[in-house]
Amino acid sequence: MKCQDFENVARELAYAENHNAAPNIYSEARAHFDDCESCALRLADERELNRGFRAVKAETNQYQPSPEVEENLRQSFRETVSAGAYSEVARTAARGQAWQTYGLAAAAAIVVLVFTVALVRSRFAAPTPQTPQRVEARVIPENNLKAPMGNAEAFTPSKKHDELARARRRKRVRSMTEPVIHEAESSLLSAANTTSADGREAEIATEFVALSSNAANFQDGGQIVRVELSRSAMASLGFPVNVDRFGERVKADVLLSADGFARAIRFVQ
């Protein structure tokens, strides 16, 4: 051990000696201060200082403030209580606790309300399972395909949010049908969508919506048939329909596969 090390432990040594609990380093330090006079003096000084502290502590442990201090405090306390300050304090604290309770209750109510609304919205917004339905359709002759729509308002959205909802729903339906419509289908679909590109009167059409969850094979050909349906058919496919016009009819293109089954449908305006 060197003097620098001893300097660091001198106080602990003196303290441990005073408390009759010599630390492990004591023997090593003793070997040092037996040889080093200045460190031995330093340890003696530390011991002396600790003795002084002990004496002061023993002396002052008895010290207490005079009884007048307590009496003054009691008097002051009584005056404060009689002035109602403490009841006011207690009332304020109780009020604060009540507000805390109300706040917690309100927060809990808001959380429950938000959760309920989210649950209800998710249940009503979820698309109903698309079961392939049997559509009673009146087949329009081929030459009538080029005829302009009689009712131009047939697909005009009545409200803005209807359109947004429709877009959302269409996206959802599309995502559901994507695995079903394969490459052959998509070529047919794109062919069907370009009916207005050759100079005829433009038509606005929705995208094709699959009617069957089975994959259709269009290698052997397919056919698009223009039909008129009641608007309830739109609703059953997940499109928003104005209830007031529920009985009206709407035009649609039905995509038939080679075996004659309706595979997909789109609505035309």
Partner: protein, 187 residues
């Protein structure tokens, strides 16, 4: 106590007033000033007791912290005044009679007096760590919480304070040859 129970205040006072009073006495060396500070600390507790947050520290630490603020304020305010015949030993009348004999008592009183005076001559930042850690026997951690500083700061201040006290307590005749004798060896 905050509900207006006087006995609760009295019980709290009897349990904690001694620590507060001793701290103030060691810090300022004046019995009357220490009593003023003690009274003021408990007045603060009565007035602003609801501001005490147990999560931030213990009640004794809170009380000593308030006492420290008051002591430092009073010391700064009254540093221009000289105490007339203020004898801090008047508080220990009857206590020193416990010593075994008159000579022992005299020697012991001298030691106590010299240590107390030496502590009072320390700068405030050293004095408070000596009072808290050595005389009040608080841990470094508790002292650091009261003083609002790091534990390492407490430790280093205490080390420095002890060195200063040793120098102050060393007899004058020993001081003359000390420069030569206390040269550090590098064994």
């Amino acid at each position: 106590m905050l509900a207006g129970d006087e006995e609760a205040l009295a019980a709290l006072y009897r349990r904690r007033a001694g620590d507060v009073h001793r701290f103030a006495l060691h810090m300022c060396g004046s019995q009357s000033l220490a009593e003023d500070v003690t009274q003021e600390v408990f007045m603060v507790l009565m007035r602003e007791g609801r501001t005490f947050d147990p999560a931030k520290g213990s009640l004794p630490a809170f009380l000593i912290g308030v006492a420290r603020n008051h002591v430092l304020r009073r010391l700064r305010r009254e540093r221009f005044y000289v105490s007339l015949d203020e004898d801090p030993t008047n508080a220990r009348e009857g206590v020193s009679d416990r010593a075994s004999g008159p000579l022992d008592s005299l020697s012991r009183n001298e030691t106590i007096e010299s240590v107390r005076k030496s502590i009072l001559t320390l700068p405030e930042r050293y004095r408070e760590v000596v009072v808290l850690c050595e005389l009040q026997e608080l841990s470094y951690l508790e002292a650091a919480a009261i003083l609002g500083c790091a534990v390492g700061t407490v430790r280093s201040r205490l080390h420095r304070a002890r060195v200063l006290l040793i120098e102050k307590l060393r007899p004058a005749d020993e001081m003359e040859g000390a420069e030569v004798k206390r040269a550090r060896c590098f064994a």
